[in-house]
Amino acid sequence: MPVNEQQRNYVVRTVEERGVRLVRLWFTDVLGVLKSFAISPAELENALEDGMTFDGSSIDGFSRVQESDVLAVPDATTFEVIPWGDGKAAEARVFCDIHNLDGTPFDGDPRQVLRRNLHAARQHGFDFYIAPDIEFFYVAPPEKGQAPKLLDEAGFFDLTTNDVSSNLRKQTLRTLEAMSIPVEYAFHEDAPSQHEIDLRHTDALTMADSVMTFRLIVKEIAAAQGVHATFMPKPLEGVQGSGMHLHLSLFRGDENAFYDPDDAYNLSTVAKQFIAGLLRHAAEITAVTNQTVNSYKRLVPGFEAPVHVSWARNNRSGLIRVPIPKRGNPLATRIEYRSPDAACNPYLAFSVILAAGLRGIEQGYELPPEADSNLFELSDVQLAKLSIEQLPQSLSDALRVMEQSELVADALGDRLFEWFLRNKRREWREYKTHVSAFELDRYLRAL
């Protein structure tokens, strides 16, 4: 039996045996929002074989432009029974790749975009591995116009025994593991009500799927207890925001292509060129890795978020950190890209990060010197002397740099590139016309 057929059989038999009543077909829109439609088991075989037709307008974000039908083709390897919800009427999910009706990959589908970029890496013999550290806040269910209400006042690593949020975290971990998402660490973060869960590395496509599932699970588990979980990058003024640091490595078969035992940093030329690529193109890809107006309120000095385009071994103020692996383990050699936040579209973010790194390798970029001082303490003159630049300061800045980037246009493909810019420019326009509380407080009386 061919492998695909075996996989399809596996799915069909499991649905029968486990009494699954609904199969949810999952895909992701341009903005990274999880979309879903449900089919009954009776339609499953047909869906696995030929895909399901649906209106493509749900995939292009809020500025609707796409109006033709497309096909959702389930990726049977991602089929899982959903471990929450009604035990008697089980549900399952499966991620889909979106195709045009003629069967070719649909270039507006973020998952297909990532597949294409991973394929490009494979042409060089590389597999791209990612392990994210995802931060989020638990708050009371939000009301429009109100500041978020926190669940606890604990600090970093505090033991908040028996409190709601540690129970939530425990339940979340169990559910993640049941959905094939292994967790490395989970702890209470710096800010009150803030939590971090670190996932174990997998290949980038699996990880992008996992991030989508992760966000849903965290929110579902919280909602069941009347709590709201938010991945908003900076929900509270004056405390740390929520990021999604990404630990990245390239493997060539079983060899870590980032590792070189003879180098002072244990970094291979490939790793150095990859870092150099990321640094040189960092500004261009920032609109994708930090895609909301609010993202840029996290990227400010003083809150452990990166502001400057720099790298170092152990300097958490830089954009890229090269962690020193435990016991010099070659397999654990990796770099940590610190700007992204969990509100991004993981498929697109992983795509542009990979493209920037690969460009460094293809063009043999030179790695600039390590910036090991605390960059927040340096003046602009000193920074200029070190030729260290800043990340874009706002969504508008980031979009302007992205628009000029041939690298990002290639990585996303013309259609998605255009959709993304269209969505995000609209978001910026709406923000620009908004008169904020800051302005009213400061100017209404005084001026």
């Binding site: 038999r13 499991t14 899982e80 029974v81 597999d127 049941a178 094939s180 997998t202 079983d254």
Partner: protein
């Protein structure tokens, strides 16, 4: 895997060792009467008969097993080079043979092939090991009475391991046997899936899959570990 009958009792040490290392569950049996007395409820999974020391009793043992309803199969007979002629006209008494002194790897390969062929018969295909059950026909796994919800590759990996309990596999072997050579991911994929399987089996059963340092993984207990 059910229990294999081994003749004579006690089994030659070299044979016992080979069966253990290959992960078979077996019991030494000295006579046809004992084979009936000690028969497990689900029947004998097969038999290994050593015929080079006491050929007459050995062939009698074979005949008794084959006359039963249903006949015990597969059955492999171990004979010396001088006994090759004894095989003639006894085709119905055995499914395969192996020359003594046997090469452990050869015997292991023959057994594996025989049991693989046996496995394609009409019996419902269940793999049982401790609390774990795999139904190969319905693709369902369970621990005790709790279903284990697995992805396709997790299921395939667990199936492969559980069908070969007690054996140590390198990541490379697992990758080539479970994923196939065309898979382009490297052996880290194996670690990722083992980690997921352990998590899904739960803490108390996670040690069903053991890490054998700097070699790979083993399902269940190894007798010579």
């Amino acid at each position: 895997m059910e229990i294999v009958a081994v003749f004579p009792d006690p089994a030659p040490p070299e044979l016992a060792r080979t069966l253990d290392l290959s992960g078979y569950r077996w019991k030494a049996i000295g006579s046809a009467a004992d084979a009936t007395r000690h028969e497990p409820p689900e029947g004998w999974a097969g038999a290994v008969v050593v015929a080079d020391s006491d050929p007459e009793s050995a062939w009698a043992f074979c005949r008794a097993l084959r006359k039963r309803e249903p006949a015990v199969e597969p059955l492999i007979v171990l004979v010396s080079g001088a006994q090759l002629a004894d095989l003639e006209l006894r085709d119905e008494l055995f499914d395969d043979f192996c020359l003594t002194p046997f090469h452990p790897r050869e015997l292991e390969a023959r057994l594996k092939h025989l049991f693989w062929r046996g496995g394609t018969s009409s019996k419902p295909e269940l793999v049982d090991y401790g609390p774990l059950t795999l139904n190969l026909e319905t693709y369902q796994a369970s621990i005790g009475s709790t279903p284990l919800d697995l992805t396709y590759m997790e299921y395939e990996l667990l199936k492969f391991l559980a069908q070969n309990p007690g054996r140590v596999f390198t990541r490379e072997i697992l990758l080539s046997r479970v994923w196939g050579y065309e898979y382009f991911g490297g052996a880290r994929t194996v670690d990722v899936h083992i980690r997921r399987l352990r998590a899904k089996m739960g803490e108390e059963h996670a040690n069903l899959i053991q890490t054998v340092r700097s070699v790979g993984y083993r399902f269940g207990q190894g007798r010579w570990a």
